[in-house]
């Protein structure tokens, strides 16, 4: 039983990117951004942590790993958010991996300047 579970685990982990169960994400802008996607999947928490301390304590605001910059690019173009749906950029993966995100109780999960088409907005308003 143990061996079976272990092999299952081993089978799942490396197959992440091509796994058919993997979440299909609604990413505003995908592909390589600051680092290769696979590297970011593994290390984004470390770089975010490092960036956060530099920003808060040293006032360095133009670091390339800033959470705000992540959201600007990768938030959905439908709702400008990285949160809230099963295919949202942050929430999609975190739901899949069952890891709690502790960022957005305080941080905005929305893109600063909306990319949502004005047409769809107008449509909503007219409804």
């Amino acid at each position: 039983m143990k061996v079976f579970l272990l092999s299952l685990l081993l089978a799942i982990t490396p197959a992440w990117a091509t796994d058919s169960f993997a979440p299909k994400l609604d990413i505003g802008k995908g592909g390589k951004c600051v680092e290769e996607p696979q590297w970011m999947r593994k290390n984004h928490m470390q770089v975010l942590l490092q960036q956060r301390d530099e920003t808060v304590h040293l006032g360095i605001r133009d670091g390339k790993y800033s959470l705000k910059v992540c959201i600007e690019c990768h938030a959905s173009t439908k709702d400008d958010s990285v949160l809230g749906r099963a295919d949202s950029f942050c929430e999609g993966c975190h739901r899949y991996e069952a890891v709690k995100i502790d960022c957005f109780e305080c941080h905005s999960s929305k893109r600063h300047l909306s990319l949502v088409q004005d047409a769809s907005l107008a449509q909503k308003e007219s409804k």
Partner: protein, 238 residues
């Protein structure tokens, strides 16, 4: 060494110098426009000089600007956050009335930083006193220690915070001197909003800055100066 060689060296030196002089302001502007990638330093000590003689009784523009900039609700119940508030004062002897904005005084020796068990309350190298909400456990000891009642505790879950001003339930917060604006080379929102230009913001450590010059020439006070906290916010006219 021949004369030509010396001349060539001289020429190189001059031209390199000239190029540097030509490029430097541009580089500086570039830095300003992109936010600085260097850590803040103690060459700066950000502060304010508030002219209470100019501060209109009943005017609330600085408070409104602060609420808008930082995404505060503007509610006035005892559990709502107020980073800046207008205080109406009446001299108990003479009856003279004074109105002034009160907020975190950005002390050089901040009691909130001394008492914070986790070091979440901290002072940046440039004198701005902040709460690192990532390490704040919400014990409220800093609120007990602050002589100015400058801090608020977030009593409820929040939504739709400003991207530049993260705030969250269960942590303590206060005036950040609009640190996100200051880092971009802008002024704090309250200073910009004051219709009477009563809030002068600047670098106290630079003797040539407007604020430093004014502090040299007019009488200004620190609130509760007896505590010896060396506040960054100074008042004129009380």
């Amino acid at each position: 060494m021949s004369d030509t060689n010396v001349q060539r060296r001289q020429f190189l030196k001059t031209s390199v110098g000239a190029t540097a002089v030509a490029i430097a302001p541009g580089m500086l502007l570039f830095d300003m426009a992109h936010g600085k990638s260097e850590a803040v330093s103690s060459k700066m000590r950000w502060g304010m000089l508030i002219d209470t003689t100019n501060c209109a009784d009943g005017c609330n523009d600085c408070v409104k600007a602060c609420n808008k900039e930082n995404g505060l609700s503007g509610g006035l119940s005892p559990t709502d956050s107020q980073w800046i508030r207008k205080v109406e004062l009446k001299d108990m002897r003479s009856g003279r009335a004074v109105s002034l904005p009160m907020m975190c005084q950005h002390c050089a020796e901040p009691p909130c930083v001394d008492v914070c068990p986790t070091g979440a309350s901290f002072k940046r190298a440039d004198g701005i006193v902040l709460v690192d909400k990532h390490t704040c456990i919400g014990c409220r000891y800093c609120m007990m220690a602050c002589p100015y009642k400058a801090r608020s505790f977030v009593h409820e879950p929040l939504h739709d915070q400003k991207p530049d001003v993260p705030r969250g339930k269960g942590t303590v917060e206060s005036c950040t001197l609009c640190v996100h604006r200051v880092d971009k080379g802008q002024q704090p929102a309250c200073a910009e909003a004051c219709p009477n230009k009563s809030i002068l913001f600047g670098n106290l450590n630079d003797p040539e800055s407007e604020i430093a010059k004014k502090i040299r020439t007019v009488a200004s006070t620190q609130i509760r100066a007896d505590l010896g906290l060396d506040t960054g916010i100074r008042y004129q006219g009380i």
